[in-house]
Symmetry: D2
Subunit: 477 residues, 4 copies
């Protein structure tokens, strides 16, 4: 089966009837019609449709090594630098259609799975490891254009250094039992973004495992028995794209994933009961280089969008002559070009790994994700500093459809825009930075790859500082 | 008539039937029952009720110089440092009841009016100035415990340096005509917070006036003919205090005020048609010292609340042992104690002005409002950095009332709190920093007294640097 | 003997013939004539002379409780808030004479000793503690107007968390032995500022003591047998006050103090061989409140000087119209007024301790020393950003005395100053921020009370956050 | 004549007997023996010697298009991306030999001249322009391996916005007259780094010219009649490389250049008396792309050195386990890799200009020089925060040669280094960040390409923001 269309996606997800709870209610009808999900699911469907859009089909797809069909390019295992460039073009094509607002567009998880499949060599011959299952699942997902979510982190019960959970009633998901059908999982995991609106959920232990019951990796369908997605409050402001240009389209939802003795069939178990592998596989695999390459490519598009909004505000209220305004806008330009340069460097310095795949330079991409969580919140601050009272004067679509419109037309007109267009740009800026949707985006970017301090420390520890120490020693003689 | 009760306030406002537009609809029923206003009006009513609360009545009121009745202490014209301390106690008593979340609790405008009334000497004998009207209105407001809003700024059409409006159809409110009944105002003003839920609206030109038609000051009832309040979107998340502990109570609303040939009767005109006075009265009056004293007193209480939330998060998820967590929390402590010190200094260095009123030290208070717009956004950042994924795991009240409660109880429990209490503290943190209500609060504090850069520049220009230059000259000989 | 004069000071120090090593040489002649010390010793002498200056004698001295003579006011044990104000006036009088550049003017150590003497009650009846020795030494120092230095920190061999020294040849100074004459100290201590140019050196364990041999407190004359002061490189640029307006006068020198089996006579031992006291005495005593009060009072005067320099630069090259320049200067104003407010608050909130002494509020002063190490380096940055190339165009005094003077006069003239005066102000700015002297000043302020991160953490831990957590609990119900 | 040796350089400069004034004295003997210059001149000589070093000769030189001789590669006019890579390799080879401390190693000016020569097409047929003179001088310099300095800025008399000099006695250098021999220049220019120790000085008006007398470009020998270099104070700490590992080698000196009716012969005039060209030539030429490419390549090497020093400090005193230490070090890593990525991007996105030369992408390099002046001062702050008291315990070489050595050996030993080696690394860190030499380096990097705010504004104005505004318009419909 070749790459799917938007409609395929919507129908497949509706058919699953996944166990999704929101605001105390189970979603019982088609989830694609639910107010909290329909906007983002339509946006996701539009992504899939791009795979059949004549203007960009070549960017979006490649030929399946199994069938020769056109399949989604984010599944491509890169073997050359050209392949990396292709991957970036695909990711950015999708990102441009939503201005990078969908942090979990399907290419993200496709890339994750592709990376793991490209590193199965690490699991060969290890106890309780099933590299063949990863490969089979990768091919299955690729050929069926599956959508996926995943969860990496345990509930935030206690973040003290010396806390270890010891309850019989587990909080963090763990292997409770195994039988001939598979392994039994009980407990919870945070925070599956798009949980409930994907075909599958992948669950991976990514380090920090002390007890083998907590070390495993697998993927199961979202509608597996005993699996439950508990949503946070929805941040969809409403249907109106005038009022909520972003949240009406891109609210991806975050969910707590509850495993109530969920059976993971053996053929979907990637590994379990192996502390060493649980703590090392993700780190040693090409997970980081490939996934970061996708992430940073998307963040670039998002940064371009921020710059567009900032410049639109500047022009709308004519503040471009002020030095401090120019300085603030140039902060965004600096970040944008820096991110672009880093992706480029990661591709140029890519190297073939031991299994023949072309890994972009990991350190370079780590630099990018050390930068972005710090600059993105600054972007939102800049928008607020420049938008100022304009971000408070935001009447709604219905106000423009009422008799006060003539007042709004007169009193909210701007230098280069009429009142309606001016309110639109400010509502967009507000939805990006000040609505509940927008602030969740900011939090998401702050913590995409974990605590910023930990990211710094990882960078420091993994970076080769010896040549520079040597240079110091040379001058000291 | 002595200080009013909450019920007096609600009834009086409902009775006005002010022309308030929200989301394209005119508010026709009692505004105090409208979902966008009822929370904040009840909170405001609760403030007035404190005037009759036996435990704090003495803090809240003083004896009317006209009638001997107990009246609201924020109307007190201070004549001694003790009076300043009393005023601060009153302001902070009110602020504590809402943790400083109501930027426009009535004491703010009461203070503004008291300050203007205390400076009417500046208007004596000036053309088109009516100091007696200010005094009469001050006494009337004081004795009737009026609530007020005001607007200081013109619409943000074009903020270029060399833009001057020249339309016949004015955008910024201006005097179009005068007759024996009064002056006629047409145009708009931004952004009246609490517009539509106060007895009166005061409109004051506070500088930057080039054309006398734009220079005036007056107060009129909110339901004056031709006066219209056009609301932005409401940021009340909903009724639930579990879900929206702040926005359900303290959403003050910001409005565009439209003057459609509004008649301001002569007895309510404070001045008009006098460029010099329009540009100097507010600056020379005790407006800044008294108003800033109120503002900073409230901001202190708000900062205490932020510290309480931060410490609650730290304890809830047990992160207090981390150095960087301690460092971030201590940033808030530093800001809090700094603000307290500055208010204290402003009182100690207060001086009697030429009309016998005790003005707190203005420069010291300017320092405080140069600091707060910079640190408050940092507070919200710290909350997000510490709260992290906890700010995304926020199921709603109804979720806790449904069958998923047992999952939430298990998986969202925290070190020192059960799941429900933990979600409550994170929802509170979210409502302060990430909901549409919370981000509007942040924007409000960023710009309370105007553009932060302009505040810096005003401080620089007004500060006496000569003694220090002299000291440099002394050492250089 | 009453308060001394400058000459008394110089003669007394010269007479000691303390063992001071600098640049590989022992100082053998009168140290007050040595190029590395004469400037600062003369400045110090000038301080003592102020005690006899008719214009400020009353500020500088008080009546000895023992003799009725006029003695140095920094020895005063405050018993009222008025006493605190007097102490501040005295400290700032001295500080103004050197613009706060002498971090170790004698009032600092006088205050330290006064604080310890005011807390001897803590040592009563404790093993190996001699409160009577502290009192006797305090009275002796006070009545003889002694100058002192001290050392608090151990050599920086290894700052890892789990490092414990175990050498027989101690690095950190320790008690090696005791005999009937006293205790024997061997090892080293860092960094005695003014080491070698004071009458006495006080050595105090201020916490972190695990081994009782490292826990002690005493004072001995600088010329004690076996005591050696090893200087760092001198940062005196030269004699010329034109070239080096600050380093020629205020270079206080930092020294490593080497104890080569130094005998501390029993009457000078304050405590030893008592881990609990070594770890708690300083913290529980009034050391911090009194010493911080002195420090912050001085830092205020220094900040005023910085503001004077910044404003002088602005006027000299006429950059005051630029918004970003005003903003930068206002940063200094904000810091200055904040520091003033904090000292004021610490005095207002002072309380009588259990021994009848009036302690300024410690928390408030901790705020100040959390702020200053962060803002002072920013001051130096602002000076560099505003001074720009002017800080590179700094010819010397001799250049102005040579035939190139006419070129300098023409080409280095400034808007409001002739070339010579302009170069003087820039040389002053350079000596404050860019000379080896100036950068050492910056480092000194960065670390005056220890690592800034530790100061943050101490503040966080000692601050009472409970009332604010309670307020959060109240709103959550 | 092929590329020169170090000895050639020294002899040639000594022979010039240029008019150099320092500390009120004319340099009369060989300048290469003068204490203020000998270190840097030897370092510069060592650079030239590398052109004959078998291990890197190929990197350092290329074949002269005129003679086929090996000549300095920084003169190469790049025609391909490979040429850019070669140029970078050459620049970084030189930079590594001094760790990027020589901001004006000859490749800088060679690049400037090469860039101008590559853009002479802009001068063709313009009034008072002599493109042939630039080409001839370029070839002469290239074939004789000339060293050069230059000056771009006018004296900092008055930086107000509306100041125009109108004196007959000019302050800024201007054309006073012309005759058949050439043009006559009078006035001064700032700040020629290496002024007096180069063969030639180039003087170029780079914009902001209102009066044609101030618009010109030329190059003349340093010993031209009437030309005088007035030095600032020397920042050479002394001869000892132990004490002053950097200033003893790399103090490049900054000079005021005085033109006392200096004749510039016609064949050395590039243009004059043409306001339009004076204001546009440098901006339109390849000056920025080529020069920034050199600058940023050098800054990368310097950043590597900073990282080496930071890591050496961390290891020496064993502080690598602290999170905040790792975070600070990683800031440097982030900056280093960012700079590398930007240079790489500038090369990949290089384009052939209209004259067939391969210009690196200018915008990308502008990003780099917007970043570096902000991060470099932070590097020096990080070194101070990590080095702490270690930067104060810096005895001199002679101390280690004296009898106190045994004390130093014992008390200054570090975790991974003996006392001498530990002091060496701290003295190096001190010389980079705290000596007068080091702080001048910091100022130099802060302002290398002008006021950081202006650099921001230029970036903002020149950057193409339209595509991103369009994307915003697309989503708003």
């Amino acid at each position: 089966m070749p790459a799917i269309t938007g409609n395929d996606y919507l129908e497949r997800i509706d058919r699953l009837q996944t166990n999704v709870w929101i605001d105390g209610k189970l979603v019982t009808d088609n989830i694609s019609k639910h107010p909290a999900f329909k906007g983002v699911m339509e946006s996701q469907a539009a992504l899939y449709d791009l795979q059949y859009d004549a203007t960009c089909k070549d960017v979006m797809t490649y030929q399946s090594p199994s069938t020769g069909d056109s399949i989604g390019l984010s599944y491509l295992q890169p073997k050359s630098k050209e392949d990396l460039v292709k991957r970036r073009a695909m990711v950015q094509q999708w990102a441009k259609s939503n201005n990078g607002m969908m942090g979990r567009s399907p290419d993200y998880m496709n890339t994750v799975l592709m990376a793991l499949a490209s590193s199965v060599g690490l699991l060969e011959g290890k106890e309780n490891c099933f590299p063949e299952n990863i490969l089979a699942f990768y091919e299955y997902a690729r050929e069926n254009d599956l959508s996926m979510t995943h969860t990496f982190i345990d509930p935030q019960v206690n973040r003290g250094q010396f806390y270890f959970e010891d309850s019989d009633e587990p909080i963090a998901a763990k292997v409770m039992d195994r039988n001939e059908a598979g392994i039994i999982i009980k407990g919870a995991r945070l925070l599956a973004t798009q949980g409930g609106i994907t075909d599958e959920i992948m669950v991976i232990s990514a380090g920090g495992v002390d007890d083998k019951a907590y070390g495993f990796a697998f993927s199961i369908p979202s509608n597996s028995h005993g699996l439950k997605f508990v949503c946070r409050e929805s941040f969809v402001g409403g249907d109106s794209t005038f009022n909520y240009p972003l949240s009406s389209r891109y609210e991806e939802m975050d969910t707590i994933v509850v495993f109530d003795n969920v059976l993971v069939p053996w053929e979907r178990v990637f590994y379990y009961d192996n502390i060493e592998v649980s703590n090392s596989f993700v780190a040693l695999s090409s997970f980081l280089p490939f996934t970061l390459h996708q992430v940073v490519s998307r963040q670039i598009v998002k940064t371009e969008f921020v710059l567009g909004i900032v410049q639109s505000i500047i022009e709308t209220i004519n503040i471009g002559e002020y030095q401090h305004v120019q300085e603030k806008a140039s902060e965004i330009i600096v970040a944008l070009e820096t991110m672009k340069a880093l992706v480029m460097k990661s591709e140029i310095e890519a190297e073939i790994d031991e299994w023949g795949f072309m890994r972009p330079n990991r350190t370079t991409l780590q630099i990018a994700i050390n930068i972005f969580p710090r600059v993105y919140p600054r972007f939102t601050e800049i928008i607020q500093l420049l938008g100022a009272s304009g971000l408070m004067s935001i009447p709604t679509e219905k106000a423009f459809q009422s008799s006060v419109r003539k007042d709004l037309d007169q009193y909210l007109q701007a230098k280069s825009k009429n009142a309606e267009d001016r309110v639109k740009i400010f509502r967009l800026a507000w939805d990006l930075t000040m609505s509940s949707f927008g602030t969740r985006e900011t939090l998401y970017e702050r913590f995409f790859f974990g605590d910023p301090i930990k990211l710094s420390c990882e960078l420091y520890r993994s970076y080769d500082k010896k040549p520079y120490v040597k240079r110091v020693n040379d001058i000291l003689g």
